[in-house]
């Protein structure tokens, strides 16, 4: 039997939905985490497509 997947929309999610890092931003704190996250995404894009 070949590998097959189940539609992810049919798989239950947890009652506690945890948003990703940087999704909530405190009003008056400079969100250095946002910077870290943007850098993280840039690294990810580079790793996926170094050219």
């Amino acid at each position: 039997m070949d590998a097959f997947g189940i539609d992810i929309a049919q798989i239950v999610e947890l009652g506690t939905q945890v948003a990703t890092h940087g999704a909530i931003r405190a009003t008056e704190v400079v969100a250095d985490d946002i910077f870290e996250y943007v850098i993280g995404v840039a690294i990810l894009i580079y790793e996926v497509n170094p050219t």
Binding site: L14, G15, V18, T27, E28, V30
Partner: protein, 314 residues
């Protein structure tokens, strides 16, 4: 004003010179020395160092002087600072190391007045020490939330409680334990200028948001950078249909972050249900998190039926 390539090239070289001078300067070195080796220290220990630093603000002007001087001579020079700008706030990270991140920010009183009143308050999850260089005549409104652990459950979250307000005078230094306290600035009549030291050790696993009207929990975000990156990578593996990445899904299904464990299983089931099935059964039986166990137990018969139907068809 649009600069040509020569002007921008010269500005880039000057920017590099300024950055090198800044990193070698006594002000930056002083910060580096103060927080050296504290990445494994306790949060109160790092906070004590931050408070000692922020009680006296005479280090800030020398720290920024190389940039002020360079920008006076060339407006295209770019200080090597991470900068954030939006209508409400302009901020820059002045210093960053594994123990602490120090940022300066100006909060616009005009923008604060123009905004609708906030409906939620954030409990950021990290200890911070803040110097209100200019208090702007504002008040700090505080809330208390229960301590949060790695097995946080939205259903069991207790509401946060309003604690009252503090006046923000110029030069006031406050330690704000964002692991159990949320705060908002209100009633500013002038811009609020802050230097904030955010303490990295001892952070809570999550940042939480609560409704101001009744204190009810609204949502939660992870502060675990590694887990957030793993979530993205797992989704990417699914999108690419990487059935050969079973080891990655399996390893992530054993992560300490409960939400990552379940996401890994969902992604794995969406790529290769048969390979994921034994681990799904394990999670239904003995995952340490109740919500994960329940989700796995509810999913198990669905997956078994799908596999059986597929076998019949093949």
């Amino acid at each position: 004003m649009i600069a040509d390539d020569d002007v921008l090239g010269a500005a880039r070289r000057r920017s590099e010179e300024v950055a090198a001078r800044w990193h070698d300067g006594p002000a930056w070195r002083g910060l580096e020395t103060r927080f050296a080796g504290l990445e494994r220290a306790s949060a109160p220990e790092v906070a004590r160092q931050a408070r000692d630093l922020l009680e006296d603000d005479r280090w800030i002007e020398p720290l920024l002087a190389p940039f002020v001087e360079a920008l006076a001579g060339d407006p295209w020079v770019e200080p090597p600072l991470q900068v954030s700008r939006d209508p409400l706030r302009t901020g820059a990270v002045l210093f960053d190391c594994p123990a602490v991140s120090i940022a300066a920010a100006v909060l616009s009183a005009d923008a604060l007045v123009a905004l609708p009143p906030p409906e939620t308050v954030v409990v950021p999850g990290r200890l911070s020490v803040v110097r209100y260089v200019r208090g702007g005549g504002a008040r700090l409104r505080l809330w208390a939330a229960e301590p949060v652990r790695g097995d946080f459950s939205a259903a069991a979250a207790r509401p946060c409680l309003a604690l009252g307000t503090l006046p923000l005078g110029d030069g006031v230094v406050l330690s704000l334990d964002g692991r159990t306290r949320g705060h908002l600035i209100e009633d500013a009549t002038g811009d609020v200028v802050t230097i904030t030291a955010t303490i990295r050790p001892g952070a809570a696993p999550f940042m939480r948001e609560y409704r101001i009207a009744d204190g009810r929990f609204v949502r939660v975000a992870t502060l675990d950078d590694g887990a957030a990156r793993s979530q993205m990578m797992l989704t990417l593996l699914r999108q690419f249909g990487r059935a050969d990445a079973g080891d990655c899904f399996e390893a992530a299904s054993r992560d300490r972050a409960f939400f990552l464990r379940w996401q890994a299983m969902r992604e794995w089931l969406a790529v290769d249900a048969s390979a994921a099935l034994p681990r799904l059964a394990e999670m239904a039986a003995d995952d340490p998190n109740g919500e994960v166990r329940a989700a796995a137990a509810a999913t198990l018969p669905v997956v078994e039926q799908s596999i059986a139907a597929r076998r019949c068809r093949d």
